[in-house]
């Protein structure tokens, strides 16, 4: 059964190749179904392999399948090979599982887009890359997947490339990721230089005993890579912009799967972090600060997807908090539950956007509960899950993380708890703005006439032009201007995945219930060994912490309700401009990095290269010419001058002879 593992990435790859060649011929929607089928088959294969692995005992649950040698050079040797262990199979399962659902959803969402087949080409390629990333048995092949998903992310963010913002966002994502990749690559060099291999099993075993400074360096460098991919401080800036992509892409890549690759990598290298405790602490702090930071921004966003994007960054921060706290299982747990509820929320948001005919501004929504019952119901499930309301999945995973964080340092826990408060707050805000309250889309059609007293006049977009999703993809554009339409529920092909995800988001906690014997943690145990944090707190303390978390969540929700439902406080007071503009980090980066870099390049190109270096070259040439012109003057045409030259030459030679004769 385990031997079928190669099929898991191979199936989406096949889908990719088939669609690449015949995608246009298959057309809309068959291309989408083919892609979905491939993902589904991959999921089934993953299930089969999962059971195959289950069939083995704890420590035996490692299986390597080598396909062929990829790169071999001297002592350096890397195979295309898959490592099947509880971690990778868990990842594969949820990637293919969530992926299948999102594929299915996308068939409906992308219906009518002229580039429909191409979308699924990218989607399948993405799935393949993601699976390579998680299934690989060595760092380099993971890196292949890592870069592959990055490239796909680039393609998909700039899928509607005719919009300059989409194109820029794609580029930004790729380049920011590349900064992280720098760390990943150097880390690989260092690993090879230290232990002579990039294969996970032997390398990690050896690195577990590596000196701390080496382990720290590797850990930090890999974390740099992870921070890029998983949108952590300071490299998170690409993710909000990435919302330019079609919503299924946001759900699949920028919420559920790709952005968690960094977490996966950190979990994978747990022995290294075990050997470098200070790096672990660092990661925890970066994680929790990212979580808080992104949550604050999410509180003031008006774009339905932007809120979710910052929320994703925030939740990823939680995962890194878990990693840094040594709670690897909790990290994976939260990753999975987050995949469920965040995919759900994104798809729900997509459904809303779809139903609202490409409106993304929450301030122009409201009261959609009536119009989109399935969407709103599932979205609310997602809301409860992310806000941390028991018994929804998010509560359990978040609680697990906070517990471990508290065990590591109460300060981490405190920040985490504050973030939880904000999470509940901004999600509640979103739910209220979108599904409750007055139906602002009826009146807010004309931006120049503010319909509601409390509605702010047009907000400046966070990133220019980040407003509408899918401007060209939906035939609904033919519906005409805003205000003349009624929001509608999405077709079944879109709602079915919503429902399934809602169920998963609700019940995901079962995977690792603290009083259910923490099956996920058990399952993953062999991968972590002694690196996993064993929480020392007593059951009572755990209960107190859990209660606190719950209370916090409720509190956050209530505050939001107070402001947005009951209007006790003016909205604009809690949405300061600096938050709307995401703490001006983009501007800061522009000023401190992009502009100077540009100026430097410009100077190099137009001054240094053209004037100094090439100038020197041309200068030598002109020097020769100038010398020639100067010498020509001597060649005056007067025969007596020439004779004088002969005479002077004779004098010179005679003088030399005289010197020699002395």
């Amino acid at each position: 059964m385990l031997e079928a593992v190669w099929l898991i990435p191979a199936l989406p790859l096949t889908g990719f190749l088939v669609l690449l060649v015949a995608g246009k011929r298959l057309g809309d929607p068959r291309a989408g179904f083919l892609a979905t089928a491939m993902m589904g088959a991959a999921f089934l294969t993953a299930v089969i392999v999962f059971f195959g692995l289950m069939g083995r005992e704890g420590e035996e649950r490692v299986f390597t399948q080598t396909l062929f040698t990829w790169i071999n050079s001297g002592s350096f040797h890397v195979d295309v090979a898959f490592l099947v262990d509880p971690l990778s199979i868990t990842m594969a399962l949820f990637v293919t599982g969530v992926g299948t659902l999102i594929h299915l959803y996308a068939v409906g969402y992308m219906h009518g887009d002229e580039k429909f087949p191409k979308f699924f080409v990218y989607l399948n390629l993405f799935a393949f890359s993601m699976l390579m990333l998680v299934m690989s048995n060595n760092f380099l092949l993971t890196f292949l997947g890592w870069e592959g998903v990055g490239a796909c992310s680039y393609f998909l963010i700039s899928f509607w490339f005719d919009r300059p913002t989409a194109a820029s966002a794609g580029k930004k994502a790729f380049i920011t990721n590349r900064i992280g990749d720098f760390g990943f690559m150097v880390a690989m060099f260092l690993i090879f230089g230290t232990v002579g291999t990039l294969d996970y099993v032997p390398a990690l075993a050896a690195l577990g005993n590596a000196p701390e400074y080496t382990a720290s360096a590797i850990g930090l460098l890999l974390f740099l890579g992870a921070a890029g991919k998983s949108a952590q401080l300071p490299l998170y800036v690409w993710l909000p912009d990435a919302m330019e992509g079609p919503t299924p892409v946001s759900a699949l890549i920028h919420a559920a799967t790709m952005v968690t690759a960094g977490v996966f990598l950190m979990v994978r290298i747990n022995p290294v972090l075990g050997a470098a405790p200070e790096v672990a602490t660092f990661i925890a702090w970066v994680g929790v600060l990212t979580a808080l930071f992104a949550a604050t921004i999410a509180c003031a966003q008006d774009d339905i997807k932007k809120v979710l994007a910052y929320s994703t960054i925030s939740q990823l921060g939680y995962m890194f908090l878990a990693v840094g706290s040594g709670a690897y299982a909790a990290a994976i747990f939260h990753m999975v539950t987050h995949a469920f509820f965040k995919a759900l929320l994104f798809l729900g948001a997509g459904s809303v956007i779809h139903g609202m005919h490409d409106e993304q501004d929450m301030k122009r929504m409201g009261g959609l509960r009536k119009w989109m019952p399935v969407t709103s119901a599932t979205f609310i499930v997602g809301w409860l899950a992310i806000a941390g309301v028991p018994p929804f999945s998010g509560f359990w995973s978040k609680d697990d993380i906070l517990l471990n964080a508290f065990d590591k340092s109460p300060a981490l826990w405190a920040v985490g708890l504050l973030t939880a408060l904000l999470t509940a707050y901004y999600m509640t805000r979103q739910v209220i703005l979108v599904f409750y309250g007055p139906e602002k889309w009826k009146t807010a059609a004309r931006p120049e006439t503010p319909a509601e007293a409390h509605a702010e006049p047009e907000h400046e977009p966070v990133a220019a032009g980040a407003h509408s999703d899918g401007g060209s993809h939906d035939p609904a554009a033919a519906h005409g201007a805003h205000g003349d339409f009624k929001p509608h529920e999405s077709p079944r092909i879109m709602t079915i995945p919503l429902v399934i995800l809602a169920v998963l988001a609700a019940l995901g906690g079962l995977l690792n219930l603290p009083f259910g014997g923490t099956p996920l943690e058990h399952w993953l145990e062999p991968v972590f060994g002694h690196n996993l944090r064993q929480v020392a707190s007593s059951g009572g303390a755990k209960l107190v912490l859990a209660t606190l978390a719950f209370v916090t969540a409720v509190l956050g929700g209530m505050v939001a309700a107070t402001i947005y439902r009951r209007h006790r406080i003016a909205e604009e007071k809690v949405e300061p401009r600096i938050l709307q503009r995401a703490w001006l980090v983009d501007e800061l980066y522009q000023k401190t990095i992009a502009h100077p870099g540009r100026a430097l390049s410009q100077w190099l190109a137009s001054v240094f290269d053209a004037k100094v270096i090439d100038g020197a070259v041309n200068g030598v040439a002109s020097l020769v010419r100038a010398g020639g012109s100067r010498l020509r003057v001597v060649q005056s045409g007067f025969v007596r001058s020439y004779a004088l030259a002969v005479a002077v030459g004779a004098v010179a030679i005679l003088a030399f002879a005289l010197v020699r004769s002395l």
Binding site: F638, R640, L654
Partner: protein, 176 residues
């Protein structure tokens, strides 16, 4: 003593003639000054037992070459005086004079210890000067036979060349 006197007079005449060539404004005067030098050199030849050469010097140089010069001067009517004060080429004169002095001093300095260091009489002794012509002839027809023969080529060239150069031709098509 008489040798010294002869040398002194001849040397002064030589140099005076030479300076005269250089300094006389009129080409005819220059030619006459040249004759003076040539005669003086002939005297110096005689003083050194080169009787035949002295004769040739007078006959060929003074008799033929200088006459040729004068002939051309007259023929072309270029017997105008030259303004020696003017010099178009900047720095030509001082540099020329310095260069000339440098050559002179270099040669003299090079010869400061001794002029001759070569093997004696490689081509045959001079004898006492009485059979100068025979010795010269002997040398010409033995050691310098080839050189002697190829002077004929030189003379042919001179003749042909003179004919080619002086032959009248069509109008100067390309003259400005």
């Amino acid at each position: 003593m008489i040798d010294w006197a002869v040398f002194a007079v001849a040397a002064i005449a030589t140099l005076a003639g030479a300076l005269g060539v250089v300094l006389s404004t009129h080409p005819v005067h220059a030619a006459l000054m040249l004759v003076m030098t040539l005669f003086a050199v002939a005297v110096l030849f005689v003083a050194q037992n080169a009787h035949f050469l002295a004769a040739v010097q007078v006959i060929v140089y003074a008799g033929a070459i200088v006459v040729l010069f004068l002939f051309v001067i007259m023929l072309l009517g270029v017997d105008k005086s030259e303004d020696l004060a003017a010099e178009r080429l900047k720095g030509q004169r001082p540099v020329a004079i310095v260069a000339g002095l440098c050559v002179l001093s270099a040669v003299l300095l090079l010869a400061r210890s001794d002029w001759v260091s070569g093997a004696r009489s490689t081509a045959g002794s001079l004898g006492d000067g009485t059979d100068n012509v025979q010795l010269l002839a002997r040398s010409l027809f033995t050691r310098y036979l080839l050189a002697f023969e190829i002077t004929s080529v030189l003379l042919v060239i001179a003749v042909v060349g003179a004919v080619v150069l002086v032959r009248r031709s069509g109008p100067m098509e390309l003259d400005q």
